[in-house]
């Protein structure tokens, strides 16, 4: 039923692709074609680095429909290094506690399955702690 809506947003959801305003150069996510800063038209694709830090977070013990199998999980507002703030699940926390300001990086993960085990799998961005050796 919801299939078309899912695939049209693949680039932004799989790869964190947003926009850059050609007038004032701010980076925009999610893409909206109009710059929230200067009001100019902004349609240039921009791929975010995926790096950012936790701005705020909360843990959900009762997830909304479709997310029950993932509970409990932590949702955070992540401030990307290019500026925008995105809402996303944190993953791969292991025994790591979450803190405001914690550096995180984007990974593409399974978000949920659309309906039961017969449904389509939905993939998208989440963020995880950077706390293991980073490439030079």
């Amino acid at each position: 039923m919801e299939i078309p809506r899912h695939w049209r947003i693949n680039p932004q959801r799989y790869e964190l692709i947003g926009e850059e305003c050609p007038h004032c150069k701010i980076k925009i996510f999610p893409p909206r074609d109009v710059c929230p800063n200067c009001g100019g038209e902004a349609k240039e694709e921009y791929t975010f680095s995926g790096r950012g830090e936790v701005y705020s977070f909360t843990t959900l013990y009762d997830g909304p429909a479709g997310f029950e199998e993932m509970t409990p999980y932590t949702v955070a507002l992540v401030k990307l290094e290019e500026g925008p703030v995105v809402t996303a699940q944190l993953t791969d926390l292991g025994s790591t506690g979450v803190e405001i300001g914690m550096p995180v990086e984007m990974v593409t993960r399974r978000i949920r399955s659309d309906g039961d085990e017969r449904g389509m799998l939905i993939y998208g961005y989440k963020f995880r702690p950077v706390g293991f050796t980073t490439a030079k």
Binding site: N10, R109, R110, K126
Partner: protein, 358 residues
């Protein structure tokens, strides 16, 4: 090696090819062998491995392939748009029908003008994809092809395989030899219809013919493939700094290596099964990533996979100078192995979908 004159057995494309990038992925969770023994054997049985890597709740072959491929692209230093193929070899594709390859390709930002799809040949699905990539690049149909071997390996609860069936794998970008960090000097594939291990359509766990897993399956095919490659390339084990074999447990590759004339020094660096388990289609390929992380220019590496059903692909590689500046551009295999959170059997049961929710 003297450029092998065209052996009718070897797989050598018209244009020489190699790996221009590689990337590993291992999920962060570990299930100790002792936890399995505790549940099923009162803790009285030893485990063939210390522990195995377990994918988290939101991970599968698609997500793991995406991360390994991003690491491979970072090392290759090419944009995803230049790939002409995205091929994923696995025996745990999330969908029975719907390719993993298209999701991986789109998540990487690959173009739509590519060949994408999934390969299946038990534990050698990944090396099968590499052989195909050699053909695509070596024929000039494309400059770069991405081939992945990745699994969230299944083992029936309580079965001997449950100690070892792990999650992980690796991605390789095949390209022209003059851009390679490891040139593929030759490959050789050897197969036969052998009923050692299988999983029927719609079955959750594999079956294995206990009698068949050792001599008539693993050892026969690995040895036939590696011996033929050595003979036809006129090389001997002493010419290789490293040898990597499919690794369902620590003993099989050690025994196969010894029988071929390789010593423990040549085998140990690519032997990851004691700490991540048997990652099926990922096993030989992630072993190779650990070797490439430390190999020096000029080193030769012999890699031989094994897939039940059955067959082996063997490769003779020569590491180039490019390894030195490229390997640091993504996380090392050791980085992933060191990132480790131990889990108990209950968490494992939940993570691997063995817990019925309805």
């Amino acid at each position: 090696m003297a450029a092998p004159e065209k052996s009718p057995l070897l797989l050598i494309p018209d244009r020489q090819v190699g790996f221009i990038g590689y990337g590993a992925y291992v999920p962060r969770y570990r299930l100790p062998g002792s936890a399995v023994s505790h549940i099923w054997r009162f803790g009285e049985s030893g485990s063939p491995v210390k522990e195995k890597a377990v994918a988290g709740l939101d991970e599968d072959v698609i997500t793991m392939s995406i991360e390994a491929a991003r690491n491979a692209l970072a090392r290759a230093g090419i944009p995803a748009r230049e790939l002409r193929a995205v091929w994923v070899g696995s025996e745990s594709h999330p969908y029975a029908v719907k390719p993993s390859g298209t999701v991986v390709a789109e998540a990487l930002g690959a173009s739509s003008s590519i060949s994408a799809g999934d390969w299946q040949f038990a534990c050698k699905a990944g090396t099968e994809a590499i052989v195909a990539a050699m053909g695509l690049v070596g024929s000039g149909m494309g400059r770069y092809a991405l081939a992945i071997g990745m699994d969230t390996a299944q083992g029936k609860p309580g079965d001997a395989l449950e100690y070892t069936a792990g999650s992980g794998g690796a991605a390789y970008i095949v390209g022209p030899a003059d851009e390679a960090l490891a040139v593929i000097e030759a490959a050789y594939s050897f197969v036969s219809d052998t009923p050692d291990f299988w999983r029927r359509q719609e079955q959750k766990y594999p079956e294995h013919g206990q009698r068949f897993t050792g001599d008539p399956a693993y050892f026969k095919h690995i040895q036939a493939a590696a011996e033929t490659l050595l003979r036809e390339t006129r090389t001997t084990p002493a010419d290789y700094r490293y040898a990597v074999f499919h690794q369902p447990n620590p003993k099989f590759p050690q025994r196969a290596g010894k029988a071929l004339g390789f010593n423990d020094e040549q085998i140990k660096d690519g032997l990851l099964v004691p700490v991540i388990g048997n990652t099926y289609a990922g096993a030989a390929l992630i072993g190779l990533t650990a070797v490439l992380d430390i190999a020096q220019p000029g080193d030769r590496v012999l890699v031989t996979s094994f897939g039940s059903g059955a067959g082996s692909d063997a490769f003779a590689l020569r590491v180039t100078d490019a390894i030195l500046e490229r390997r640091g551009k993504a996380r090392s295999t050791a980085d992933y192995i060191t990132r480790r959170t131990e889990i108990d059997y209950g968490t494992y049961v939940r993570f691997r979908g063995k817990l019925a929710m309805r």
